[in-house]
Structures are given as C-alpha cells and as structure tokens.
C-alpha cells in the first residue's frame, strides 16, 4: 500500500514537472521571435545579425533618414485614431439601442454589426476597393478611413455591448423615476457607466488598425500609406535591421496602449469573445 502511494506521488511529481517544463518551453517559443527582433535592432552591423559585437542605435537613426517609415507611422496613428473615433460615434448609439433588445430583428442586427470581425480582411479589402473605385474614391485617405472604420465598428460594439448588458437597467430606471429626461439619463448615468467599454473598445480597434495589412494594402497611395504596408514592401526589397528597429518602435507604442487599457479597464476585456 505504502509502495503504491509512493509510486503515485512520484508519478504525479513527474507529471507536474513535465507539464511545467512544457509550459516554460511554450513561452520561450512565444517570446523568441520577438526578442530576436528587438536584439537585432541594436546591431551595429549592416546585415541582419545579433549584436554579438557592440551595441548601436544606427538603425534607429535610419528610421529618421528613411522618410516613408516616419511618414507612414504618423499616417497609421492618425488613421487609427480617426477610424476609432468614427466607429465610436456610430457603434455606441447602436449598442445602446440594441443591447437590451431581445427581439429577433435586434439580435440579427447586432450579428450583422459584429460580422466584419469574422470575415477575412483580405476579402473585405478587395471587395471594398472596387466598390469605392466605382464611387470615385479609389485609393485615398478617405478610402483607408472607410475601410478601417468597417473593421473597427465590431470591436467598439463588442465591448460596449458587454459593459452595457452587464450594468443592467436599474440605474437608468432610477434616474428616470427621479424625473430625469432621457438626455439627462444618458449624460449623467448611462455614459459614465459605459465609458470604460467605449475606451477599451476604441483602444482595441486602434491596435487592430495599427497592425492591419490586408485592408490597408489595397488603398495606400504613393504618398499616403500605412506603416505595415511600407514595412512589407521594404522587407520584400531589402533585408536589413531597419525593419527590426521600426518593429520595436511599433511594439513599444502598442505596449503603451495596452498598459493604458490594463490601467483603466483590465485586460479581461480584451480576451472575452
């Protein structure tokens, strides 16, 4: 009996040890390509290599020299901000209108407003390109803005819906009973309650917009294009550490945004589907 117990304990110990090391390996796998890029960005060499000898910021200086990087980074940030703003303006009223409506029509409408998240961005981009060209918009900043807003709406919609459904209608009803008019209820009660959802949703939409390649690819012009598109064409033409430097800069911006979400709303909002 004692021997069996000991054997079971040993087996359990070994099992835990195995699972633990597997998980450790997994996280090494997850972080490795990113860590490698950050390391490469500090190489003093002209070719892509790890900074075995010395440490240099020359590839960060290259970011300032090679104008398309800085220009497209600004375009990307501006575009992410604007598309998130438009998405908030149209998606928040829709979420409030439909969030607590359980009718078939409302459920179907919500499903439609969330749909762009599920459709491959490449398909959206290709379809939208011909459509907007027929409208005379073609490749332009406006087209980029329209396309990115289409993709941003579901993200804002999703988080606002989740928060709005979660807080329930008690506070708003109480305010209405206390003779606040609908506008006052919205400004003083609903708005503060759903603010974190709006905030998290729009930040997440911005993150998605910043990394989007499939849609942006179709609408960029020689003058106005986004960072991922510039990075892709740079990477296809030359293989040097400048890509590592700009990637690192972009990652730092993203992590800063993520920390803002974490501080104001918690990371959980990003993971609930």
């Amino acid at each position: 009996m004692k021997a069996r117990l000991a054997a079971a304990l040993v087996a359990r110990h070994a099992g835990n040890w195995l699972l633990g090391s597997f998980t450790l390996l997994f996280f090494v796998f997850l972080v490795a390509p990113i860590a490698v890029v950050v390391a490469v960005s500090f190489t003093p060499q002209a070719a892509v290599s790890l900074p075995y000898q010395g440490f240099s910021f020359r590839w960060y200086a290259r970011l300032i020299e090679y104008r398309p990087f800085a220009d497209s980074l600004l375009t990307s940030l501006y575009l992410a901000l604007n598309s998130a703003l438009v998405a908030v303006l149209i998606a928040v009223p829709a979420a409030l209108a439909l969030g607590r409506n359980t009718s078939r029509a409302a459920t179907a409408t919500v499903a439609f407003l969330l749909a762009p998240i599920a459709i491959p961005a490449l398909v959206i981009g290709l379809s939208l390109l011909y459509y907007l060209s027929n409208l005379g918009l073609g490749v332009s900043y406006t087209s980029l803005l329209v396309a990115h807003t289409v993709i941003s709406v579901p993200y804002v919609m999703r988080t606002v819906l989740a928060v709005y459904r979660n807080v329930g209608s008690d506070y708003e009803e109480a305010a209405a009973v206390l003779s606040a008019n609908p506008w006052q209820v919205f400004i003083h009660v609903t708005m503060p309650l759903i603010a974190p959802g709006i905030f998290a949703g729009s930040l997440f939409a911005m993150l998605v917009s910043l990394d989007n390649l499939a849609v942006s690819y179709f609408f960029g012009t020689a003058n106005v294009t986004t960072l991922p598109v510039v990075m892709l064409s740079y990477l296809q033409n030359q293989f040097d550490p400048a890509i590592a430097a700009i990637s690192t800069v972009q990652m730092l911006i993203t992590i800063a945004l993520l920390l803002v979400v974490e501080r104001t709303y918690g990371l959980r909002a990003l993971t609930t589907q």
Partner: protein, 297 residues
C-alpha cells in the same frame, strides 16, 4: 365607468409612448447599420455578383456565368490550393489544440500567482505586428541564422538546415500567431470546471490520467470547440505568414487572391476565390452558432 375609460386610455397612451420610444431607439442604430450596409454588405454582394460574371468589370454584363468557378474547380492547380488551404487550417488548428490545452491547464491549475504575468506574456505577441514576428522567424530560421548556428556549434548537424524553404516554417509561424487564441478560449472554461467532480473521480479510484480523459476533458469541450472554430477561421484568412515564410512552398487561397490581385489582375477569378473563402468562413460561423445554441440548451 369614466375612471375605467381614463385608465384604459392612459394605458393605451403609455403603450403607444413605449412603442414610439422603442422605434426612436432603433433610429440610434441607423448610422451604424447604414454605414456597414453601404461599405460592408453591398461590397460583399457586389463581389459575389462579380464572381458570377455580373457587374462592372471588365464590362457591364447581365449574363450569369459560372466560368470562374468552373475554372477554379476544374483546374488541378486551383483545386490543390483549396485543398492546401483546408489542410493548413486543419493542421494548424490541431497543433494549436495539442500545444494550447496543456498550457491552459498549467495556467489555470498550477501557475498560482504567475497566472497574471503569464496572461500578459500570452497577449503581448498578439499586439506586436505580424511583420515583426515573421521577420523574427526569418532571422531564427535563415541558413546562417540563430538556430542553424547553434545546432552547428553543437555539432548536431554539419550542413545548415533549409528550414525557410520548407513548409515547416509556415506551420511554426501560423501556430505562433494563432495558439494564444486557443489558450484564451480554453482558460475561462477550465476555470469554470467544478474541481469536486475530479476529486470524486479520484476518490472512486480513477487515476490522474483517466480522471482527465473521462471528467476534465469532456467538461471543457465547449472551450475546445470555440478555440478550434476561431483558430480555423483565422487560419483561413491568413496570408502574410505564407507570403514571408512560405518561400512559395505553401500557397493557400488568401495568398493566391493576393497574388492574383498584385500580379495577374484576374479580377473575376480573384472574386470567385474570395467568395469561396467567404463561404468557408460562413460555414464556420454557422458551426459556432450551433455550438452556442448547444451551450444554452
């Protein structure tokens, strides 16, 4: 009598008021609905029409033709691409499940105070650009890259391995991009499992392995299903990984659409292919909906 009339009429008025208010509420949804109908719904329908030979390109035509689909389904090359798309998505999903489940298990059951930092680590790669990650893999996999250097210094191999010109790099890249979604789908479900059920199984004499396969795994099927549908769907739409890590070895529908658009400008065919891709996604969405219904029931 008069009282009753008053009560009824005010009730009717209140009901009418409520209906009007509901209708006014719908107005709030109008801008979003109109925007997405105009810039998402209609373009996709137009794309479907274009794939059937209708519409604006290259000339306005009103005859429906299945020529693009026939070309796609009769040509062994295109059939191969469709098959490859489904193969890559299925294999990626399977690998993500095999790798992701144990990781989710450790994060929920064994990580303790490390759980939150691990969650952070899990999410961070999702927020780095896809180009950064594929670039990282290229540095690691190159002929004179980190992995080959390391293995040669250890004298495990004498010749650098041609990792970048095999499909292995595509699968590794895909798993790297998508496995966090699998873990994130399983974690919450695993957290919800009543551990007393497992304890009961153990008390009744089942071993750890048997308890896992007869109790824990069935209880987390829902998370597994959500994760699998999500990963499969996202894998179907990926093309950057194949483009930058595939070296032409792995050609899937999205990559081919991308190439059709940039190189050959065969728009009708590209439309048909994106329509087919859309169809695969809709089937996945339907499966997901059915799973959600199952969960409610």
């Amino acid at each position: 009598m008069a009282d009753l009339e008053l009560v009824t009429s005010s009730a009717v008025a209140a009901a009418g008021h409520a209906t009007r208010r509901r209708n006014r509420r719908w107005l709030l949804a109008f801008p979003a609905l109109a925007f997405l109908a105009m810039f998402f719904g209609v373009p996709l329908l137009q794309n479907a029409a274009r794939s059937l030979g209708l519409g604006d390109y290259p000339s306005a035509s009103t005859a429906i033709t299945l020529a693009h689909y026939q070309k796609m389904l009769a040509d062994p090359y295109y059939l191969g691409v469709i098959f490859e798309t489904l193969k890559v998505s299925s294999l990626t999903t399977a690998f993500c499940l095999l790798i992701g489940y144990p990781v989710a298990y450790v994060m929920v059951r064994m990580a303790g105070r490390l759980a939150v930092p691990l969650l952070f680590l899990l999410i961070t790669p999702l927020l780095t650009s896809i180009i950064m990650r594929t670039f990282g893999w290229r540095v690691l996999f190159a002929r004179r890259g980190v992995i080959n250097d390391f293995l040669m210094q250890l004298h495990v191999i004498d010749q650098p391995l041609p990792i970048l010109s095999s499909s292995v790099s595509v699968y590794i890249g895909m798993i790297h991009v998508l496995v966090p979604f699998m873990v994130l789908s399983i974690v919450p479900v695993l957290q919800g499992v009543d551990r007393r059920l497992e304890d009961s199984a153990r008390v009744l004499g089942a071993g750890a392995v048997r308890t896992f396969f007869t109790v824990t795994l069935p209880l987390t099927l829902e998370g597994i299903a959500t994760g699998c549908v999500l990963v499969f769907m996202l894998a179907n739409g990926s093309f950057v990984t194949m483009l930058l890590l595939g070296d032409g070895n792995v050609v899937t529908l999205p990559l081919l659409i991308f190439q059709q658009f940039t190189l050959t400008h065969e728009i009708g065919l590209a439309s048909a292919m994106s329509n087919l891709l859309l169809l695969i996604v809709l089937v996945c969405l339907y499966a997901q909906l059915r799973l959600a219904r199952l969960k409610e029931a």
